[in-house]
Amino acid sequence: MCKCLFVFLVGLFLTAAATVWAGQSPLALARELAAEGDWAACRYESRRVELATPAFATQARALRGQAERELALNRRQKSGWKRIGALPVKAMVGFYRLAVAPALGSRCVMEPSCSHFSMQAARECGWLGLPMTGDRLIAEASMVVARHQPVTNAMGQVRFADPVSDHIGWRPAQRLDKVH
């Protein structure tokens, strides 16, 4: 019994040693993701290593801590003026969700719903979230009639996709070389 355990442990040690020698530390991927600045994936990966490979738990925890700090820093950098500009929209949507939405229920046929769209627009574009909300409320009915981009949500209901990304990053008008 002792002999077979010894063989098993030696095998495991050799495998681990070969892996480390080949430069394939279990944290290699997490470190690569950190170098790329993909901190969300780095946090996930270092957490996985922390749980799956106890020998590397301390290093993985340190890397996860760094990833969490970077993510928090990114959130703070994104805010500032944008966050202040987003306040009116957030207040409006907050009031709607608190006082109006419970009486109406989930009725919006757009994906994301108008209140989610407003919050996303405010988060991504700051004060521009207000005109984007106005535009969405004006144009919503036409989008439903046109049935552009129908999608099925998790509840199996048909909705019409109109993500915030469709309203930002406008492509300028093209100068076309005409076909003769």
Binding site: M1, F8, Y44, I138, R175, L176, V179
Partner: protein
């Protein structure tokens, strides 16, 4: 066989069963369910775990494909660099993905370079056909309509002439100016009307008029709370009218362009055949 030897064999088999448990099924499942960033991380892990260069290249390419679908173009490029180093034989697959990635990244010149490389006679027919269609679409996207038309007219593949008609139709129209749309939006509804969205124009006009009337009426009665609430709604709709004027022009241009590129490409695309893993095999659909 002695009892201890049997135990050794069992433990070795057990280890062998446990170690490859993190195969590609999980990554493929994530990719198929649309969780592309996570699928990319799983494929990267697989790429790092394989010793054989071909398999490392295959999984790095799949990671790049997943990043492309997740709109993480920079990371997709990095994965393709790794693929190129590990498995240069996958040149066609690398070029196809580089072309798609650069096109989505709005780098049409780079995309055109890779697509032109794929139109070489030595490539397989589906690759050349897909490259021809995509290159024509890229040329339309950059406004080079005559070049796109010539490319399709010279194409040896059947059915590409229908795309020539689509380019002719696209050429007859013209794009709307986003700036003009925004400026016209200063008059509620006019910005939408400029891009042909008459229902939105009418709705914008009515909503803005109602808000102005509401603000004036509340102010006459000296009900300042009402002025604040209706005024806020008015500001939302008025600014929405300006933004919407510009957005409607951009929407008009985008839809016009999409209709043309869709007519050219007709849903032509490539995707990896996950059933062939660890070999990289592409499926083409036209």
């Amino acid at each position: 066989m002695r009892k201890s030897d049997r135990l050794v064999v069992i433990l070795v088999l057990l280890t062998a069963t446990i170690l490859p448990a993190s195969g590609w099924d999980f990554a493929v499942d994530l990719a198929k369910s649309g969780d592309y960033p996570q699928a990319a991380v799983e494929f990267r892990r697989l790429a790092m775990s394989y010793e054989a260069a071909d398999e490392r290249g295959t999984f790095a390419w799949l990671a790049g494909y997943a990043y492309w679908q997740a709109s993480r173009y920079w990371q997709a490029e990095r994965m393709l660099n790794i693929t190129e180093e590990a498995a240069p034989a996958l040149e066609t697959e690398i070029y196809l993905l580089r072309a798609g990635n650069n096109r989505s990244w709005r780098r049409p010149d780079e995309a055109a370079f890779y697509l032109e490389s794929l139109m070489d006679e030595s490539r397989q027919e589906p690759v050349r056909r897909l490259a021809t269609l995509q290159l024509a679409a890229v040329k339309v996207e950059t406004g080079k309509l005559a070049a796109a038309r010539d490319l399709l007219a010279a194409s040896p593949f059947d059915g590409d002439m229908a795309a020539v008609t689509a380019i002719d139709e696209y050429s007859q129209g013209c794009d709307k100016s986003v700036v003009a749309g925004g400026l016209l939006g200063l008059v509620p509804g006019l910005g939408y009307a400029y891009s042909g969205e008459y229902a939105n124009a009418l709705r914008s006009l009515i909503l803005n008029a109602l808000c102005i009337w509401g603000v004036v009426d509340f102010a006459d009665r000296e009900q300042w709370g009402g002025v604040a609430v209706v005024g806020f709604a008015g500001v939302t709709f008025y600014s929405g009218s300006i933004y919407g004027g510009a957005d409607a022009a951009a929407r008009y241009n985008r839809r016009r362009l999409e209709a043309c590129t869709r007519a050219i490409e007709k849903n032509a695309r490539f995707e990896p055949d996950y059933g062939a893993l660890p070999l990289l095999d592409l499926k083409f659909r036209f």
